[in-house]
Symmetry: C2
């Protein structure tokens, strides 16, 4: 077991932002929510899945919606309680840990606050190893875990339980309700035993996020380049260093969709990279050439502060470095690519691993 104290939250948040591929929601409100929970209830207990009893229940949870909305609609501290109470009506067994459904952005933090408030540890794992737009784009889906029952709540006291015939139906139902409730709901899905979770999740995500965040801070303090930390920790590659010269962004069907154009500076002068976005950074294009693509992780770093910039915070004029790193290997399997490869997002080309594109 590892303890996370309030002082560790900036590093955790920085790591979640990098792993989020631009998605998962801005971490500021998440840091506040977890900080408040720690202040009231003590530090976060992070447990490895191996430390949990085989038949104890591990509950993946997080927020669903458009991250643009979460900037303004911060939710209530009791969402986690509502989800647990709702699940309690529907399933037997003892919940022994919560788990982020995605480690990316705010969604890597929120479930930690909920766990602290519920007196539960957080499992050192998540359902994506990054962030993806859809609630069904999770490792549990690949492992064949039943998504049902899932429970969903919003800021008030409405609670919905869902027995979906498959992950895609769950996504449709959760998305429709997220839109109806203003673009943001809390969801617990794919309830499973710790024994199941060991083979059905991206493991070590929370400690990885903290390690990334610390390494980045160390480089920044040493006047080094924070991207060097990502190169070392995540095998990241630089795609371009430059300035954002155009951002399009709109809400469509409950997602943030858009693109950002980065023109190169210094060594990259004369080059330009276009990022295409659906909540997360999906594809980086240089002219017609794909430089990185889902499920590999594309991240935009502020060239001054070294912090990852979420898609909803991209602005004209920002000096940025775009980098990419290989995804969790589970996404490179045939089933993983069906769920999260470029064709799953409507692109008409097949996945090529980042390492082969360089």
């Amino acid at each position: 077991m590892t303890l996370i104290e309030a002082a560790d939250l900036p590093a955790l948040a920085r790591g979640c932002s990098v792993l989020g591929a631009g998605g998962g929601g801005d971490t500021q409100t998440g840091v506040l929510a977890v900080g408040q929970a720690i202040e009231q209830f003590g530090p976060v207990r992070v447990v490895d899945l191996d430390e949990l009893p085989d038949d104890g229940l591990v509950i993946p949870c997080g927020l669903v919606g458009a991250p643009m909305v979460a900037l303004e609609k911060v939710g209530s501290a009791t969402e986690g309680e509502q989800l647990l109470a709702g699940l309690g009506k529907l399933i037997g067994g003892t919940v022994v840990a919560l788990m982020p459904l995605e480690i990316g952005g705010s969604n890597g933090l929120r479930p930690i606050g909920w766990a602290v408030r519920a007196g539960l540890p957080i499992a050192d794992a998540d359902g994506m190893g990054r962030a993806f737009p859809k609630v069904s784009q999770v490792t549990m889906e690949i492992a064949g875990v039943d998504p049902s029952p899932s429970v969903l709540t919003e800021e008030r006291s409405n609670l919905v339980a869902i027995w979906a015939q498959d992950g895609e139906s769950l996504e449709r139902i959760a998305r429709a309700l997220s839109i109806e409730f203003g673009g943001r709901v809390a969801l617990a899905e794919y309830p499973m035993t710790a024994a199941q979770a060991r083979a059905a999740t991206a493991r070590g995500s929370i400690t990885l996020a903290v390690r990334i965040g610390r390494a980045m801070a160390a480089r920044t303090h040493a006047s080094g380049d924070p991207i060097q930390a990502l190169e070392r920790e995540l095998d990241a590659r630089r795609l371009i260093e430059g300035r954002i010269v155009d951002v399009e962004r709109r809400m469509a069907a409950g997602f943030v969709r858009g693109a950002a154009l980065i023109e190169g500076l210094r060594a990259d002068s004369g080059r330009a990279v276009r990022l295409e976005i659906q909540n997360e950074n999906l594809v980086a294009l240089e002219g017609d050439t794909v430089r990185a693509m889902v499920p590999d992780v594309i991240v935009v770093l502020d060239s001054h502060s070294g912090e990852a910039i979420h898609t909803e915070r991209l602005r004209y004029g920002q000096r940025v470095t775009v980098a990419a790193f290989p995804c969790n290997p589970i996404w490179r399997t045939p089933r993983g690519l069906t769920l999260t490869g470029p064709r799953a997002f409507g692109y008409e080309f097949d996945y090529v691993p980042l390492e082969q594109l360089q």
Copy 2:
């Protein structure tokens, strides 16, 4: 207990169409569904709520969506089973009867088919005494019955349970899911005991519908005017006899919205009445003068056949008689009018009973 045989279905359907105020969905598919159920499982047992044990559960149910969609998306015979199985997971107690959530149109018939298939009687009552667009516009809401848990299903095997904080939230959730699933879902809501139901429903609706249907048929066979039957049975008034010269109709936010213009013929020559529609006929206007308004019931009858024409079947050129009759008195109470009076539908005038408008 009364038995309804296959031969009674045309009369029942005719009555449901009249009580539906143009809404509740076309009765043809409902008649087929109930007919098939009777053929397989025997006649429908219609029971008065007084015949049921106090603590037995009565479940209001029906279809939610836009009736235009139900013309083409007929659903499956197993929806009722799915709803009952879903509720069975969530509540204790024994279900002793189903009940239409609205007696109007197909929604007066569908739950009867589900009851027959489940080996249950149908309660001689409903939640509206007519049809209304929203699932929260029910007598149970006025009586303070908790809408939760409600369960919702669609043609496939997705099941959703809803604990809504109030009827309006339930309506929002059910409507959003209805839209997501193509405009039509099945819903069971406001589960209650027979003791509760006695004081929380419009009673005698099913036998009333059959009586209306039979009286209309008798008048038609006697070459009389079927509207005379409505005058006698329901205190109906004629608003205009004429021809439909314009119909606008569109899908918006999960409802059918629109209007129809009827120009008078014969004795009504020179007059014109405009009907405004949200799934049901809401208001009949002659110039700026309101001739009838919700919650009173406005019905359009085919001048040749005497059958009520649902809003989704109104067509240019039809010869029609528009009539209106007083609603169930519960809707004329202050709480009833808050829920279903003209202001609940966005009109900026207060309710005036039909009898005072003539």
